[in-house]
């Protein structure tokens, strides 16, 4: 008998076996145990559906609410409580900048993104209060220097190097030193303009402002022509900070010192040395002697004559006025 015939026979045998009889496997409530089992099965399935549905609904609700910025409609106009730790930005700015519509519930994420798009803001938190009103907390960037472009427009430089407009700042802030010869970079993440390696320069300015206020008040511009863009280059001897003092009547040195040249890595010692020297009588004698050159550049160098006792010292370099 051929294999095909055998197969057919096997199929016929299989069709006559007890397994071929149809089984109607279904719970029915025709017995007490069956009813209990049916009820249990329905309850189990219902619980599973409820659990899965609940989880899915929660997920969808959270997702939709996230998309809507956890929005919750309020019938009346939405009040805004605005708090800023810098104190320069206020609710007026907030409404103007975000074009806030108090009659419609905003997307909080979009609102926060809009606030963060202003370079003066370093952090923002937007919350919806239980009554539907908004609370906005803003942390502002603190300016340490100014930038003046060719058109005469003044912008401020924050401690982290971000450049932001000065419109919201009072006039007193114009006392900040002006940065010159600055290489401006664009932050890839935020798109803001920023001054690279500003952390070290901020340290320098803040040290001068807090510890040597008398010196700092006389500073007009800070040139960054020899200041590195990379913080790792600060330790090199060529990393220098040029400070030009103000040309004003309150500054007796303005006519004599054209600039101070601080080391970017050892500016603390230099500042200390300069402050000490200026308190000394010989400083004025050196600058004011009649037979002396008309102006000086003040340099700070390391005296390495004795390697065991190297120290910083001030050098006054004579320069022709008007030709530094």
């Amino acid at each position: 008998m051929s294999r095909k015939q055998n197969q057919s026979l096997a199929e016929r045998m299989h069709a006559k076996e007890w397994r071929a009889l149809p089984q109607d496997v279904a719970l029915s409530g025709d017995t007490k145990s069956g009813t209990r089992r049916l009820f249990g099965e329905i309850l189990r399935k219902f619980s599973v559906v409820l659990l899965v549905g609940g989880i899915a609904s929660l997920f969808v609700y959270v997702w939709l609410d996230m998309m809507a910025g956890f929005s919750e409609e309020k019938s009346g106009p939405i009040a805004v409580t605005f708090e800023s730790d810098g104190g320069m930005l206020d609710e007026t700015w907030f409404r103007a900048w975000t074009e806030f519509d108090e009659n419609s519930a905003p997307n909080l994420h979009h609102l926060r993104d809009r606030i963060m798009a202003y370079p003066q803001v370093s952090a923002a938190r937007v919350m919806r209060l239980p009554n539907g009103d908004l609370r906005v907390d803003v942390r502002e960037r603190c300016p340490v220097a100014r930038l003046v472009d060719k058109e005469g427009r003044v912008r401020l430089v924050a401690t982290d190097g971000v450049i932001f407009p000065s419109e919201t700042f009072p006039l007193q802030q114009s006392m900040l030193p002006i940065l010159q010869d600055v290489r401006i970079a664009i932050d890839a993440k935020t798109g803001f303009e920023r001054v690279p390696a500003m952390e070290k320069l901020t340290d320098f300015i803040e040290t001068a402002r807090t510890a040597y206020g008398k010196l700092f008040r006389e500073w007009d511009t800070i040139s960054l022509r020899d200041f590195p863009s990379d913080l790792r280059d600060i330790r090199h001897s060529w990393s220098l900070i040029y400070v030009v003092p103000k040309a004003s009547a309150q500054n007796p040195e303005h006519a004599k010192v054209v600039e101070y040249v601080f080391s970017a890595s050892r500016f603390r010692e230099d500042l200390k040395l300069l402050a000490a020297a200026r308190e000394h009588k010989t400083w004025n004698d050196a600058l004011g002697a009649p037979n002396r050159p008309p102006a000086y550049r003040v340099l700070f160098i390391t005296n390495r004559k004795d390697p065991q006792k190297e120290f910083r010292e001030i050098r006054l370099i004579p320069v022709q006025k008007g030709n530094p």
Binding site: M1, L21, D30, R37
Partner: protein, 403 residues
Amino acid sequence: MAQDNILAVIDIGSAETKVLVVDLEPQLQVIGAFCAKTEGMRKGEIVNLGALKESVHSVIGQAEKLAGAARRVRGACLAVSGALVGGFSVKGLTSVKSGVVRADDKDAARADAFDACLHRIPENRHIVQHMLRRYLLDRRQREEPLGLSGRELTYDLWVIDADDTYLTELYQIPNRLGMTVRGLFPASLASAEAVRTFAQIMDDNRLVIDIGAGTSDFVLFRDGAVVCTGVIPVGGEHITNDMSRGLQIRMEDAERLKIKYGNAYARDDDVFAEIDLDSFEGELKGFSKHVSRYKMELITELRLRELFTLIAKKINAEEAFSGTVFLTGGTAQMEGIGKLASAIFGNAEVRIGEPSLSFARAYAEPKYSTVVGLAKLYRDALSQKREALGKSGWFRRFFRGMF
């Protein structure tokens, strides 16, 4: 969550339903069992399907609870017995063309036997199990004919079949509880499997008789192979019924009398001895009733003698039986039954068979033979199936388990 490796093994007897909830993996073990009175079944036949379902479902539920697997069992294995189960022999014949029996010749003889089986089996019946009885090569019996010389090879097949309506009704019981029938075996084979001991040699000639309440199943092995199976619609209930009528006592009293004082071999040493029915524990009656012990034993003997004679007649139809007789089932516990059987089966050695399988030590009573044997048969069949499927079967089970 439903577990595939947990199975409910169900033996629906006329008097009692026995359910074992077994864990098939990693090795067969009983994790829950329950036994209770069956309703809706009489003499091996379903007389009230609703009542039967109610009682069997209740037993399954209890067994599941005891197993700690409430509502998790999704598979069932059943035993078939009763008047609607039958067996017949068919022979497949092929001529050995090359003179030496090859695998092709065996296949041809087997296919011929299957063909004959399909022609013989009625439209309204399905095969429960079929098994090889023996090979005959030129009319001489051969255990394995492969490579032997001969002209004519015969494949002798024993087929056990059952009525479709009976099977459909039987299926309904687990189906309505959300269970699929995964295994179906004749009760006689299950009992024989349960009482098979390690010491017993495989090629033993033995006759296993499972005397239940409504029916008695028997299977005859000759040289280790099944020769014939059968069901005699006589069981313990008939004895009770006879006692009730013969002694004119209530059925309940007759049942208790049978259990407590029943003896299969009538003792004529004291024919005037009487049994006081008031001596039953925990029962007080307003009047005293005495029955003759000899009469009671004589009724029992006559009924059992009839049963054994019927079986002997069937098994001796082809060849006279000589071997060991194993008696099992609830009625096998009756005193003197071995002596009676021995007398009828030509002074054969008679033993009372109790389940001796290690996984069911707690159920070593003759009445549990069928249910214990069922579990063993299903596990063996499953192992064979898995071996045949090989690695693909493992992957299939793995993925089915995952999803």
